[in-house]
Symmetry: C2
Subunit: 356 residues, 2 copies
């Protein structure tokens, strides 16, 4: 195991708010960051360098890779060809396997099932006929999701009646899809877990997630679950990390059901539901990810406060003056120029109590 020398440069694929917070964390550990982003890049305001180019621009990608010492990403849907070019030149952390698994909902579910972990019942859907058969076997309600590029509720159709099969399939526009059966759950929680270069694992306390319109609204720690479930969540995350030979931070979304925990999905990166760690832990998820990919010892993940993280979405930005004047609230704005409906503009961490 080698530690990335001080002053080294970390390449980050993606220049959104996750890249922004990763770049700040990297600087705190003495590293510089180079962001690669095809579009607008709020991360560039706090990074040493920005390359703004499409992922198809192989010259730009190669120049980027050569200018850095290790490459990571804030976004899991980077095209495979772009990753090929980068991997030929520099280490990519986490690795391709983690990306391959999480980029494709079917692969992900098969991987999780293969580890003996529970998921929602699912079926592969490549045609209207597949969908009709799947609806018959899994029942309604069910959710049809494209296998790839799902993000914040996009590319999803909810079926409440088998008669909706033709429309639902049409909405997929021939993209391979997965039908997920209905799961009764009492709450969604997530575990933010990390694995270092030398294989050690550290997890943060699970948080309870509340979504609105398919977008994460709040995460609250501690999640109101029994200690046994908390332990299950952490053990399960460790199993996923080890199976993937993972390096970095991984988000695992879980449903709490009467029969125990069920894995909803995994994200091979820092995760919105881990933003509370910025004000609840000595080493937050962003620094933890940088520590992992730079070969440092991981932070232990211990939590010194109870926190509720709330996303500021679209016009929630009008609440900023009030939030700024409220004690015990930490603001984290992303510096995005345009306020748009459904767009994550920032978040707040509300410290609800300090714990020794």
């Amino acid at each position: 195991m080698t530690t990335l020398p001080p002053g080294s440069t970390i390449g980050i694929l993606g220049g959104g708010q996750l890249g922004r917070m990763l770049s700040v964390a990297a600087a705190r550990l003495g590293y510089r960051c180079h962001i690669f982003e095809p579009g607008a890049a709020p991360a560039a305001d706090v990074a040493a360098q920005l390359t703004q180019a499409p992922y198809e621009d192989s010259a730009a990608l190669e120049a980027f890779a050569k200018s850095v010492d290790v490459v990571t990403f804030e976004f899991e849907n980077v095209p495979a060809e772009a990753l090929d070019r980068i991997e030929a030149l520099r280490p990519l952390r986490p690795n391709r396997r983690a990306l391959a698994v999480s980029q494709d909902r079917l692969t992900e579910k098969e991987f999780l099932s293969g580890l003996g972990l529970r998921t929602a019942p699912y079926a592969n859907v490549e045609s209207a006929a597949d969908l009709a058969a799947a609806v018959q076997s899994l029942g309604c309600p069910a959710i049809l999701k494209t296998r790839r590029l799902g993000y914040d509720g996009k590319g999803q159709v909810r079926l409440t009646d088998p008669a909706q099969v033709p429309d639902a399939w049409a909405a997929m526009k021939d993209a391979p899809a997965v039908l997920e059966g209905f799961v009764g759950f009492s709450m969604e929680i997530s575990v933010i877990a990390a694995r270092g270069l030398s294989g050690e694992v550290a997890c943060y306390d699970p948080g309870q997630n509340v979504h609105e319109a398919g977008i994460l609204r709040t995460t609250t720690v501690p999640a109101p679950i029994p200690a046994a479930l908390r332990a299950d969540a952490v053990l399960l995350a460790g199993r996923i990390l080890n199976a993937l030979d993972y390096v970095g931070v991984l988000g695992v979304e879980l449903f709490v059901t009467q029969g125990g925990l069920l894995v909803n999905e995994i994200a091979p990166r820092v995760h919105n539901s881990g933003h509370w760690t910025q004000n609840g832990c000595t080493v937050d998820q962003f620094e933890q990810h940088i520590r992992a990919i730079a070969g440092w010892p991981l932070g232990d993940g211990s939590r010194h406060a109870d926190v509720t993280m709330e996303n500021l979405i679209g016009t929630d930005m009008t609440r900023v003056p009030d939030l700024a004047a409220t004690p015990g609230i930490a603001l984290h704005l992303y510096g995005k120029a345009d306020v748009r409906e459904g767009r994550k503009m920032g978040h707040v961490n509300r410290i609800t109590s300090a714990t020794a």
Copy 2:
């Protein structure tokens, strides 16, 4: 009072570690930063823009000023002509008066005395004869300091015997100086205080400072002083802020003596002895400064943990791997390329207990 609109740019004179941490705090509130720095600029790694030019380059200074919405500084010895040019174009916060007072030890002591605050006994020294007379009146030991550009123990000579007058004066190289008489004190503390655009004041809990070789080694909060002294320190800082019509964060170094508090010096900027706020408060001194100069409500300054801040100076950097592996320690490295003796390379905040 107007609040700086989201997406505005803040100009920072000076690109060292203080500018670096200010830039990160500004980004967290949705602002961009433009750094002006004649030399090496670790702040540029986390800033949207850098102008690297001498303070005498009036074209560069004017272009810088025009590109930003408000200007602040991390360093109080910016030449007056440079400040003239900037002030002609953009608001400077804190104001010139605060700089004029703190740039000159004599002006500073006269200002503080004028407010009825205690300082060490002092005398103006413009010649060897002045020095001889001052030594006679204040006695030995005493410290001779240049009136301007003092920083981390540079430009200072300690006199233990009147016979040292000729050598001490020669060391000043004809620079106007101040002789400070000896003060018996039990400890040095400092108060980090802030005043907003609308005149409200907020202070952090005083910390105890320990120096080594003229450089701050550690700051510990809470300082082990009675509640009455804590209140005195905070009231006194408020008086200084109001008298200067100050906007931003100010550091006030105080000696604890048998007769009460005595002001050692003031620094019109975020201060090394306030770095503990990064891990002890919801709103740290860097965000507090940005809030003040951007016309936001101030954070209340309340502290949720006991913290000891320790500077990493020169070869202390070899301790980083051990520190990184110790729970409860937050690392803050400055990304400086060269390790030099006496150079501040980073700091750690050791959380010694969480308090509700």
